[in-house]
Amino acid sequence: MEEYLDIIRQYDVLGAFWVNIQLAFWAAVLSLIMGSVLALFRISPIGSLQWAGTTYVTILRNTPLTIIMVFMVLGAWGQLELTLATDFNLNFFWLAVVGLSIYHAAFVCEAIRSGVNTVPVGQAEAARSIGLSFLPSARLVILPQAFRGAIAPLGNVLIALIKNTTVAAAASVATETSSVMRTMIEFRPDYIYAIFFTFAIGYVILVTPVGLLSTSFSRRLAVSR
């Protein structure tokens, strides 16, 4: 027990988790928006939009996240000079958020699409038959039901996202958990087990409620038919 208190006193473990929580929050918001738009593309009646959505998902879903994160820093920022903040470290933070978002948007899109599949085709036909065109019927009839049918798979995407924020280390975010853990093990190899369990248990505490909440919400908000 003494060991655990020791390392928490010496290193900013909570601050490191806070960085990952912030990464997860912003990436969740951005990827939810991007994923919804992609899902709209994929269910739209317009062939070129369907193609764009499908191509995006196929490419991004099958690309390793580390590759995307390294590209964000060495490619997008290093070579193409994409700057998202004037502060040096904040810039890496936002580059990591964008990398996480474009990757997870593909999974959000597929989760929403699985939600769309829970909406009977008759709902769309009824919407069209009262004169709603594609966007209004998607916004008013299909997506509200699809989101409620997609809560459980969206919860799974969020769980993966929270844990994947540690890959931000590859985008030079030095204050997040895995980077801090590396430093700690380097300087306190005598505490390696305590260090490992501190982070492992920290993530279990962080992620478990997400799973419980998404299960409970998906049950409570289910559309009864």
Binding site: E125, A127, S129, I130, S133, P144, V223, S224
Partner: protein, 266 residues
């Protein structure tokens, strides 16, 4: 009646009393539709006049539902033309949406918006398509719900209602758009027997009030009571068209005789 086999084309019915009918409202000419190799609609010629109640009957797989769904383009057609109020059906986009707003549709499976209350189901179209204010739309929705006898269910969700109540809400939802014509695609086929009449009563009332209706149904009683004309379909073709009286008592084609003998013997 000494007709044998299928009806000759020149054998016209004696004209029924159609003085209450107006100009042609729905016109199908040479309509063809394929599902893969299956020719589900074969050169369909059909005109429905304003105020007319047309009942389409026929064995399952005859194409009658497809015909009904083609009229507001829930099914596309592969040949021919469909006109509503003189205008050809637009292919896609806003114009098609505008046309659909004028064509009411009642489905076999009700298809009420499951995440919205009964009241919101009825006001959604008037508010979002017609641009009515919330209070105006709700005022009219209550009148319509009252008319179909489910006003006291306005705050409930569709899943809390019986099938018959849901279908009456669906009729109110269509009526709220003030459609020029209403399509009914087997509106009572998914209902328990004791609920069929409450829906048919509403439909008969509509017919009496002069609504133009195209009704695909197996309810022969409704056809007899409310229809101006019966169309009998089989294998993707219109085999016979007649007044209900003529059709049920003196069917001309073998297909119709065979069909009627199967459903009217008990």
């Amino acid at each position: 009646m000494d007709h044998s086999g299928t009806a000759p084309a020149d054998d016209q019915q004696p004209p029924a009393d159609d003085s209450h009918l107006g100009a042609p409202l729905v016109e199908l000419s040479g309509v063809d539709k394929y599902f893969g190799d299956l020719h589900v609609l074969q050169d369909i010629e059909l005109t429905v006049r304003r105020g007319e109640v047309l009942v389409v009957i026929g064995p399952s797989g005859s194409g009658k539902s497809t015909l009904c769904r083609a009229i507001n383009r829930l099914e596309t057609i592969d040949g021919g033309e469909i006109r509503i109020d003189g205008q050809p059906l637009p292919a896609e986009g806003r114009q098609l949406a505008r046309l659909r707003a004028d064509v009411g549709m009642v489905f076999q499976a009700f298809n009420l918006f499951a995440h919205k209350t009964v009241l919101d189901n009825v006001t959604l179209g008037p508010r979002k398509v017609r641009g009515l204010s919330k209070s105006d739309a709700e005022e009219e929705a209550f009148k319509l719900l009252d008319r179909v006898g489910v006003k006291n269910q306005a705050a409930k969700f569709p899943a809390q209602l019986s099938g018959g109540q849901q279908q009456r809400v669906a009729i109110a939802r269509s009526l709220a758009m003030h459609p020029k014509v209403m399509l009914f695609d087997e509106p009572t086929s998914a209902l328990d027997p004791e609920m069929i009449n409450e829906v048919l009563d509403v439909m008969e009332q509509l017919a009496k009030e002069g609504m133009t209706m195209i009704v695909v149904t197996h309810e022969m009683g409704f056809a007899r009571k409310a229809a101006d004309r019966v169309v009998f379909m089989a294998d993707g073709q219109i085999v016979e068209e007649a007044t209900p009286e003529e059709f049920f008592h003196h069917p001309r084609s073998d297909r119709a005789k065979d069909f009627l003998s199967k459903i009217l013997t008990h």
